[in-house]
């Protein structure tokens, strides 16, 4: 058992947790690097994994964004000639798949991984190596999916992949095979991540942190992970059926053999609708953290926000068929799903009301993070209201599969999920990297994105109601929609500039670092009660929690008579006290190669399934190797591997 002996004093606390490679497990010795790229690749530190999730997701965000721009450029004028019909179909399939599975979901995983242990006062997640496996499975899955561009064509069946159009006769390239297999791989990533975070949240909270004292972001992450645990297997079934259909000639979607194509739709949307909440609830959590901090008030109606989140989580399972109002389910089923869909608006509305009430009576500070949070409320309200208009199922028969729906879910997913993520970037950047992003650039970033997104997606409401159909590779001349399509394209470029400013902001903060104060926003929750960036072991001493907004209550004291709060301590003082009372023993998990090896085997097996089974065998061997090494290697290095921090550096030097 690795124990970092922890003499008091700040100097010793700086010491890295190191491992010596005395013992070889399997074929490799344990990775020991504590700096450089190796320390990242083989890390099982939840913070480094969180950052890697974020960086990879940001990269895919740019990829998906470029795909979106190509789509918009094609549609700038009627009969656009930039992309062929075939390429366009691949483009919109990959844009959606990328944004959903490779951007928003992993971005939530990034924030969840990084912040949840800090918010609940834990030293790491419950299963650190499983965490690393999750990241690498997502990473390799994403790379594998995009390989299809260079191997005969990307998937072209839409992200919803309706059978039988995704069968071999109708989609003969290997694109859909890549899609089906890649989503199974990223599904494994999500499932392992979800189990990990649930166990972490349920089992590893600091003393005194009851569920109802938990920061709201961790709550929303908890709800989302439960949704994932139950939604991922459903789409896995759908993917397996399609996989067997395409590769082994199964008959699940062969109408000639008597199959019902609606089976796919039911399976897909039973996953697909909870998926919508999987995408948007983490951002709700982020906003529910940002608004109180910059309103200088606690979240209004904390239990209502928690329960409405949980209610959305439950009700989200009962509305899937509203994606199928035109599918011919029969009026009785449609009526049932119409009602359930209309009423899921209630808990969503509760959240918006609570956010507004949080700001009411506060002292609002308009930082970039706060602007994005308010932006989310506004844009999501538009998306939510347009959602109600097509919950009305007869209206939906006019609106479904038109740009009206495209407008709706971009307001929800861009104005909701992405704005929340950007609020999170600006809010937690100083915590994660110890550096400030430029607020000035940030405001340009925000306003360009707001103008760009409303200009891009706003007119889609109009052209949708004017009958412009979705997934069309060209704007059909004579439909009376050309003007707004041009407006949309120009706005999408503005939006792109907005996003680019964020990238520039990130580059700038690296070139000209500006050290962040310890508590730049006067924040309220536990993650701020540690160094920026946090030490490897997160907290010098695990704090005991007495209330929601623990950090706030340690900084401010309430006058019992007037109810006024006055500042009694600074963050620096609180941290110094923590250091002075540092825990004597801290157990940190040790780096490992095996999760990455195991994850790497997955796409190899997948490529083999498509091209040559021999490759699959090789992949299976890699997986077996990974499992074997993983089982042989204890999750933390043995006692003998460790010495006190001083000795450890010596041993390291001897090895190198």
């Amino acid at each position: 058992m690795a124990i970092v002996e922890q003499p008091s004093g700040p100097l010793a606390l700086r010491g890295p947790s190191t491992v010596t490679p005395d013992v070889a497990y399997g074929v490799f010795r344990r990775p020991v690097a504590t700096s450089g790229w190796k320390s990242w690749l083989f890390t099982i530190d939840h913070k480094k994994i969180g950052i890697m999730y974020g960086a990879t997701a940001l990269f895919f965000f740019l990829v998906g964004g470029i795909e979106a721009l190509l789509i918009r450029l094609q549609l700038a004028q009627p009969d656009g000639k930039l992309l062929s019909a075939d390429t366009y179909n691949q483009m919109f399939t990959m844009h959606a798949t990328t944004m959903v599975f490779l951007v928003i979901m992993p971005m939530a995983a990034a924030f969840g991984n990084y912040l949840v242990p800090l918010q609940i006062g834990a030293r790491d997640v419950a299963f650190p190596r499983l965490n690393s496996f999750g990241f690498w499975a997502f990473f390799f899955g994403g790379v594998f999916l995009n390989l299809s561009w260079f191997m005969g064509g990307a998937p072209d069946g839409g992200w919803f992949a309706y059978a039988p159009n995704t069968g071999v006769p109708f989609s003969p390239t290997h694109g859909m095979d890549f899609w089906v297999l890649a989503l199974q791989i990223t599904g494994l990533a999500s499932l392992s991540g979800a189990i990990n975070l649930i166990v972490t949240i349920l089992n590893m909270r600091a003393p005194g942190m009851s569920l109802m004292r938990m920061p709201i972001f961790s709550w929303m992450i908890l709800v989302v992970q439960f949704l994932l645990v139950f939604a991922i297997p459903v789409i896995t079934v759908a993917l397996v059926l399609l996989n067997f259909q395409r590769l082994f000639g199964a008959t699940f979607f062969s109408v000639d053999a008597g199959a019902d194509p609606l089976l796919w739709q039911h399976l897909f949307w039973i996953f697909g609708h909870p998926e919508v909440y999987i995408l948007v609830l983490p951002s709700f959590g982020i906003v529910s953290e940002v608004l109180p901090v910059f309103s200088r008030k606690p979240l209004f109606g904390y239990p209502f926000v928690v329960f409405s989140g949980a209610a959305i989580g439950f009700m989200g399972w009962g509305v899937w068929a509203h994606h199928m109002f035109a599918s011919g389910l029969g009026p009785v089923s449609v009526a049932v799903f119409t009602l359930s869909t209309m009423f899921i608006a209630v808990p969503t509305g509760v959240k918006i009301i609570n956010w507004i009430m949080t700001m009411w009576g506060g002292r609002l500070v308009f930082t970039t993070a706060m602007l994005f949070a308010i932006g989310l409320i506004v844009e999501f309200t538009i998306g939510g209201l347009s959602g109600v208009t097509h919950a009305i199922s007869p209206s939906d028969t006019q609106q479904t599969d038109t740009y009206y729906i495209v407008a709706h879910f971009h307001y929800v997913l861009f104005g909701g999920a992405i704005f929340g993520i950007f609020a999170g970037f600006y809010f937690w950047w100083p915590k994660i990297f110890g550096r400030m992003l430029s607020e000035k650039l940030g405001k340009w970033n925000f306003w360009l994105m707001v103008i760009g997104m409303n200009g891009t997606f706003g007119p889609m409401h109009i052209v949708g109601l004017e009958g412009q159909s979705r997934r069309n590779y060209r704007v059909i001349p004579g439909m009376g929609v050309s003007f707004w399509n041009m407006v949309e394209t120009i706005s999408s470029l503005i939006l792109a500039v907005g996003v680019l400013l964020f990238v520039i902001n990130v580059v700038r903060t690296n070139l000209r670092p500006r050290t962040a104060p310890l508590d730049p926003w006067d924040a309220r929750t536990l993650e701020w009660m540690t160094a920026s960036p946090p030490k490897d072991h997160n907290f010098d001493s695990i704090p005991a929690v007495h209330s929601i907004d623990e950090f706030f209550h340690r900084k401010y004291e309430e006058d019992e008579e007037t109810g006024d709060f006055t500042k009694i301590a600074t963050a620096e003082e609180i941290l110094a006290e923590q250091e002075a009372h540092a825990d004597a023993h801290m157990h940190l998990p040790s780096p490992s190669y095996w999760p990455m090896v195991l994850a790497f085997g997955l796409p190899v097996v997948a490529i083999g399934l498509i091209y040559n089974i021999v490759i699959s065998v090789a992949g299976a061997l890699i997986i077996i190797l990974g499992v074997y090494g993983w089982v042989q290697e204890p999750s933390v290095a043995d006692d003998s591997d460790y010495g006190p921090p001083g000795d450890a550096t010596k041993e390291l030097a001897a090895v190198e």
């Binding site: 109708f170 309103s295 002292r363 538009i382 009305i392 209206s395 409303n454 109009i462 159909s469 004579g478």
Partner: protein
């Protein structure tokens, strides 16, 4: 900050303005508008939709106004240092604000469910039309009307119905899922292979109503378009009578040469009722051996239609088309009469027809690339390039224009 709020609620204002602008639009300008209903069902849906839009709009404006007010009122000002009152919530207010939207939604739910059952109910004395989607065109057949050949009357891409009468559709598909949608007449309904879905149509007046397939169905999904043509009852009867007849044998020499070309090049996929082989037997298109999805459009009365290739191209020359569109908007009765006349030789858009015959996949993406057919057992989907010579094209056009 206030002006920012105005900018932020811009899209909503634009939406409202757009809605108003749309209402004033002439029919021809936005041919697939859902806000310009021209039949009973579309009207019923629209009557249900717009109050909901209005309510949603009002709620939106109220929410944004509140946010605007609090941004101005509660922003941090210099000298404003004290920590605000730490309010944790007001349960009564919360419950009230939860119940209120629930009640509002319940109020909307009642008419919604009513309309839902209304538009799905089977109307009495309806004309039945079977709708079959396939990549990437629509076939319509009329099971209650039998042609000279003893088979139901069949046409493609332009469905002709009598104005003012109820039409019951049985919708299905031969390959993948499609969706039938004529926005001005009714919402959409999916065409699912292996299932038959019912749906209703009704047009108040004669006219030409655009639609397109709205369930993504592969390569040329965008181009899978169709029209519903509503005629006066009298004109509709004339149209039926004319559709019942078989095609006559070609009379002039050019057409006869074209007919011969048609028999050898086209007739294996495209049926022309009345087209006889050397033994005097009807030539039956048996396309299943070559094309994945089954039949190609029946061309017996091609020139009775105003468009071809899934209503993507006009059979009418641009000037004749303008004239017809004008009638469709301004003089429905005259439009009806003109439509039954079909596309005359004078008005025929020969350039377009020739361009199509020269290289179909070039102007309408189809799955006919011979190098990609391995996965589909050599079956293609759509019309391949037949590499016709200009002479062949001329002869075929001469023949096709006789198919009235």
């Amino acid at each position: 900050m206030q002006h920012r709020m105005i900018r932020r609620s811009g899209p909503l204002a634009a939406m409202a303005a757009g809605v108003v602008a749309l209402a004033g639009c002439a029919q021809g300008d936005v041919p697939q508008s859902t806000m310009d209903p021209k039949g009973e069902y579309a009207q019923t849906i629209f009557n249900l939709s717009w109050p909901v839009f209005l309510i949603a709009g009002v709620i939106g404006v109220v929410v944004f106004a509140i946010i605007g007010v609090l941004i101005v009122r509660f922003r941090e000002r210099p000298g404003h240092e004290e920590t605000p009152k730490q309010v944790h919530g007001k349960p009564t207010l919360e419950i009230a604000l939860t119940v209120l939207p629930a009640v509002l939604l319940a109020a909307i739910a009642v008419p919604t469910v009513n309309v839902l059952f209304d538009i799905n109910a089977e109307p009495e004395d309806a004309l039945v039309v079977n709708v079959t989607g396939q990549q990437w065109w629509w076939e319509f057949d009329y099971p209650s009307i039998t042609g000279d050949d003893g088979l139901p009357l069949v046409t493609a891409n332009e469905m002709v119905i009598p104005a003012g009468q109820q039409v019951r559709l049985n919708i299905t598909s031969r390959d993948v899922i499609h969706s039938f949608w004529i926005p001005k007449l009714n919402g959409k309904r999916d065409a699912v292979p292996g299932r038959v879905h019912t749906w209703n149509l009704h047009a108040d007046d004669p006219g030409e109503y655009w639609g397109q397939c709205t369930e993504y169905c592969g390569l040329s999904h965008t181009n899978m378009r169709m029209r519903v043509i509503a005629l006066t009852s009298a004109d509709y009867e004339r149209w039926v009578a004319q559709q019942k007849t078989d095609a006559r044998a070609a009379e002039d020499e050019a057409a006869a040469l074209g007919e011969a070309q048609f028999k050898s090049l086209c007739a294996s996929c495209h049926q022309v009722d009345g087209l006889k082989d050397a033994e005097g037997e009807q030539i039956v298109a048996q396309p299943q051996t070559q094309v994945y999805n089954g039949a190609a459009p029946n061309l017996t009365h091609l020139m009775s239609r105003g468009t071809f290739v899934s209503s993507n191209f006009d059979l009418l020359r641009p000037d004749c088309r303008l004239e017809r569109d004008d009638l469709s908007v301004n003089d429905p009765e005259a439009f009806s009469a003109a439509y039954v006349e079909g596309t005359s030789v004078e008005c025929l858009n020969k350039t377009q027809l020739e361009a199509w015959l020269r290289d179909p996949p070039a102007i309408f993406p189809m799955f006919v690339d011979p190098t990609q057919l391995e996965a589909t057992d050599g079956k293609y989907r759509g019309m391949p390039n037949l590499n016709l010579t200009e002479t062949q094209i001329d002869q075929l056009v001469s023949y096709l224009q006789t198919l009235k």
